[in-house]
Amino acid sequence: MNTIDSGQRPVRGATALQTGRLPRLLPERFGGGPASLAEHVARYGRLPRGWDGPWREQLIAEAGRAGLTGRGGAGFPTARKLATVAAGRDAPVVIANGTEGEPASAKDKVLLACAPHLVLDGAVLAAHLVGAGQAIVVVHDAVREVVDGAAAERRQARLDQIKVKVMTGADRFVGGEATALVNWVAHGIPLPTATPPRVSESGLHGRPTLVQNVETLAHLALLARWGARWFRSLGTPAEPGSMLVTLIGAVHQPGVREIEIGMPVSDVLGLAGGPAVPLGALLIGGYFGTWADPAVAGALPFSAEGLSAIGGSPGAGLVAALPADVCGLAETARIARYLAGESAGQCGPCVFGLGSMASALEDLAAGHSYQPGQLRRWMAQVEGRGACHHPDGAVRMVRSALAVFGAEIDRHAQGWCCGCRPPGVLPVPLRRTP
């Protein structure tokens, strides 16, 4: 298995990368700060140029052959999105999505902090591919300075024919949703808007808008250099390539790693030094993700296909390890309350339903009354009834908790709880009052 710390002797520079070895996106060693433009070019070479019509079509087709999919959580085929936006009638625009509002995830921030030029390469390239004159790069506040610095370096070197604008994202959970991001860039309002229309058809100021996660753009910048065959030399035939994951909780070395898609979940945990204590559960994908029994999930491939066995998906690449002596129900109630608070507050079923669900889970976790029929009715009533997928993601997470923590629910009904340590493994920021 090719992994970031597979123990193989590192081969320097682009040669090692071109043989398909990991890491592709992350530096071989952390600690050097962001790669300067010179360091970036030394490692990856320059972005190939062409920019004319046939060249653009070929490169979009190459992205299709590579099988690159979005790394922001939804996994939409990148080539299809590029083609849709490129075919738009109005002048398109590109928005690179580095908002990463998920509090437990750090992969986009780490990528931008280590390799900002790779993301900017991807954003500029995507702009050329769809015929946009401007790329707007929206990043988390924590990495704004680094990205500003990289953008200034490129301007000084007169590297790009595309105008690159860097913005700070709205620091909230729904801020990364495509329509919310467009709304934020256009009006400073980080709230989703009604669809249709999709932003790829009518987004920023009514223009066709390519909203693409920053990691996806970094992959695009590399496959433009080395092609689909190189890209597919890692991963599975159905889900080629590598992806970034964030490992948090009870592992020895939490942090961001680059993995080959399809490697077993237990090996992914191994990249963080493995479990630090006996584990009770894993939360895979993100706060919209899926709770899983480590004994069941450990052997599964970390891919959409592999994780579908437990109703999960890689999502935005989060793997959170919950110790066996922390109550999963209490942890679930905390996340559910957080997600209720992070509702954009626009759609009734989300505004009221997520709050009702969180209250039911808090009662369950505290050993008070639990009415499973009522909670399940609320979940069914909430799912699919928002303008965005926020309520759906919350329901998915809660549904998996009810399945995985079934024995714990029975214990709570009898007045017992497995948790002898307080919950708090998963970060839940306090809602700032505006």
Binding site: R71, G72, F76, E177, A178, R198, Q212, G348, F352, A387
Partner: protein, 80 residues
């Protein structure tokens, strides 16, 4: 055969006033918080008048009849 229209609600505009469910209970029920749950089927010919009335009466202009080929509600994209 031409597909019949479907009822669609804009969940952002909807305020849960509930008139639609009174006018067209055959197709619209209210959830536990008073917001409309609409059956995602083509409006049967016999209910087209009532459906049009429900659309007209919505004080939030949140309800509409979607005449585009009877496709189910479009799935949405998240930034990916």
């Amino acid at each position: 055969m031409i597909a019949g229209p479907r009822l669609r609600v804009d969940p952002i505009a909807c305020d849960g006033r509930g008139l639609c469910a009174e006018v067209l209970p055959e197709m619209i029920t209210l959830d536990d918080w008073g917001f409309p749950i609409i059956r995602d089927i083509e409006v049967p010919p016999g209910l087209l008048d009532e459906a049009a009335a429900a659309v007209r009466l919505c004080p939030r202009l949140a309800l509409r009849l979607d005449h585009r080929a009877g496709a189910p509600a479009a799935s949405r994209q998240r930034a990916s």
